[in-house]
Symmetry: C2
Subunit: 378 residues, 2 copies
């Protein structure tokens, strides 16, 4: 448990890079995709299966765990890892994003934010210090500063104000975090869709100094070129020797394009949420299993796959499960999607190490396109 948190870049292919994060609870191969375990569970998955599919780390949401079951309770139960039977690394966010997107009657001030629970209307207060305290009670391996995330589009002065506030909270978060051997604290770059603000945020955070750096307030509905432009403008101002985490993205294509630009870590509800709604992400593109064209198709999603859900069940059966609202349909499609996401990350790591990242991306996109446009079955 005393191993220091560290990051090593092992290979680089233009701006894409592959490396290894070391934490007290295990190593994380990068670029890494973190399945989202919102309320201390990656929905519809046994934790051992999430690991077996290739995840080195999962993300849990401070906002949700703060409301239920409560961080003090989790601490009394020996921490989040024991609680959710996931002994490997966990990253927790700060709660700031969900306070904005989920809570009722949010009231922000310089010191923090007061909000009503979306579950029962109870009042809660989150400050940079409390966000650190909660994450310490959960005992997560990678922790995020509290930030303020604005909805885009947004007036420039409002974006600037939120960015400045997030910087002030970054300093307070770092102070509250203190020295935690084996645990890491990440700062979060804000600044909306404004290149100058993004650069200023990245520089100021680097001056404060964190174990890693995230890009926040992106993948929230802005045009994709804006997201990519913000990444391109911010990354050069962040220290090359620290991990870079794009929060909340994305589609398989987002993963390719953001890794290409130098992102090391991702989280997104897409593969798990889509799996609960009948959608499968595969090497041949996205399939909607609700579609009647699958009803008589004996072909599995991906016969040579090592993932049992993609190999041992026909599209006809998955269609039947989805149409019938069966839980097994959600289980199998979530498994298929997480398996594909992890396979994509592994393929990217290998391609970067071999110096063939651009070729890999082109081939992956070609396969998605051929699959979507191609025959309904195989």
């Amino acid at each position: 448990m005393s191993e220091e948190f560290c990051f090593e870049v092992l290979a680089q292919d233009n701006t894409a890079r592959t490396g290894m994060i070391t934490t007290a609870r295990g190593k994380i191969r990068t670029p890494a995709f973190m399945p989202v375990g919102t309320a201390a569970t990656v929905k519809a998955m046994h934790p051992g299966s999430v690991k077996a599919l290739g995840a080195d780390i999962v993300l849990c949401n401070t906002y949700h765990l703060m409301l239920r079951p409560g961080p003090e309770r989790v601490a009394a139960l020996s921490g989040l890892h024991k609680f959710m039977n996931w002994p490997w690394p966990i990253l927790t966010d700060s709660g700031g994003y969900q306070v904005m997107s989920l809570s009722k009657l949010r009231k922000l001030d310089e010191n923090g934010v007061t909000f009503q629970s979306h579950i029962d209307g109870a009042l809660y207060r989150l400050t940079p210090e409390r966000a650190m305290e909660i994450q310490d009670l959960l005992d997560s391996d990678i922790r995020m500063q509290l930030d303020e995330c604005v909805r885009l589009p947004c007036p420039e002065q409002e974006v600037r104000r939120a960015m400045k506030l997030s910087l002030a909270w970054a300093e307070r978060s770092k102070k509250a975090f203190g020295a935690k051997p084996g645990r890491a604290l990440f700062g979060i770059v804000q600044g909306g869709a404004d290149e100058d603000l993004r650069q200023a945020s990245a520089k100021a955070l680097t001056d404060i100094g964190f174990d890693g750096y995230a890009l926040g307030g992106l993948a929230v509905g802005e045009p994709r070129p804006v997201m990519l432009a913000m990444i391109e403008c911010a990354l050069p101002w962040l220290p090359a020797g620290k991990p870079r985490y794009l929060m909340g993205a994305g589609t398989p294509d987002d993963l390719l394009e953001c890794v290409r630009r130098g992102i090391d870590m991702f989280d997104c509800v897409l593969p798990t949420r889509a799996g609960r709604h009948g959608l499968a992400y595969t090497r041949a593109g996205r399939l909607n299993l609700r579609n009647a064209r699958h009803a008589d198709d004996p072909a599995p999603i991906d016969p040579p796959a090592s993932c049992a859900a993609a190999r041992d069940y026909s599209r006809a059966y998955l269609h039947h499960l989805v149409k019938s609202g069966e839980i097994l349909g959600m289980m199998l499609l979530t498994e298929i999607n997480l398996a594909y996401y992890q396979e994509l990350m592994e393929d990217m790591r290998r391609a970067i190490a071999a110096g063939g990242f651009d070729d890999f991306c082109a081939a992956a996109k070609e396969a998605w396109h051929a699959g979507e446009a191609g025959a309904p079955s195989q």
Copy 2:
């Protein structure tokens, strides 16, 4: 695939017995509990996990599969076993019971029953011959005759009429079944809560001759002593060398009391349905994980269990999952319940073979009682 269907009683302890059913797709240890896979899935379970917990056979519902995805489609997809990725034995019911309990606008005549689907209102017709044909398209290993199941209480003449009709349909079902090496057809004893009718039904079915015999129209809300009395009066009239199946029961205590009286096979939605509603069946009785007393309890459901769900997750975590409506809660509690049911069957088989069935029952009931009345935690 050509192995003949047969049944062998291996040991008897008073009227309780343990044996082995051989089918073309595998052996079934009796007394056996068959998890219910209504719509070609044991809800919230991977099929491999159902098998690993000790199930030799599952039950699927002809009514549900007839409506969706349709038996002709399942046949075109190489049968139900391939469809649901369960290569081991499957028993299908005839659809009669769900026509009564689920369908709209049911219209019964001598030849069969016409009903509206509860899903989309479409009209369907079920006759003894069509029930056999559907089960043949599904290619199940054990098939049930079409019967008419009355709701209790019910006037005697109505019970008699339904019992007679079920007998006529039994003959037609047997004729329609024909000769199917490796597949079995079971007749169903009806007769409501009337001992004379039950005996007459059992005798007449035995005269027709089936591979096994079920008791239908029980465990449908009648007082428990009535159910046990009906079993006691009917079983002596059935051939001792054939399996006896009590349809739709029951609680763990039902299993003990009915095995004691000579029942060999059971199916019931209780362990799976209860698991989706926060209830756990254990050696220490039934637990309601929704109850707040579990919120801070670090103890697993059953620490020495071989079932991972009962061993590796705290009651506090299960409580959290149930309160949060998380799918993993349903998955783990279903697993816990099926594991306990299969453990109970295995323990009964062993106790019967050792000649200690009564002692085993007394000890099991004592443990349930001590657990329910005992301390909230361990």
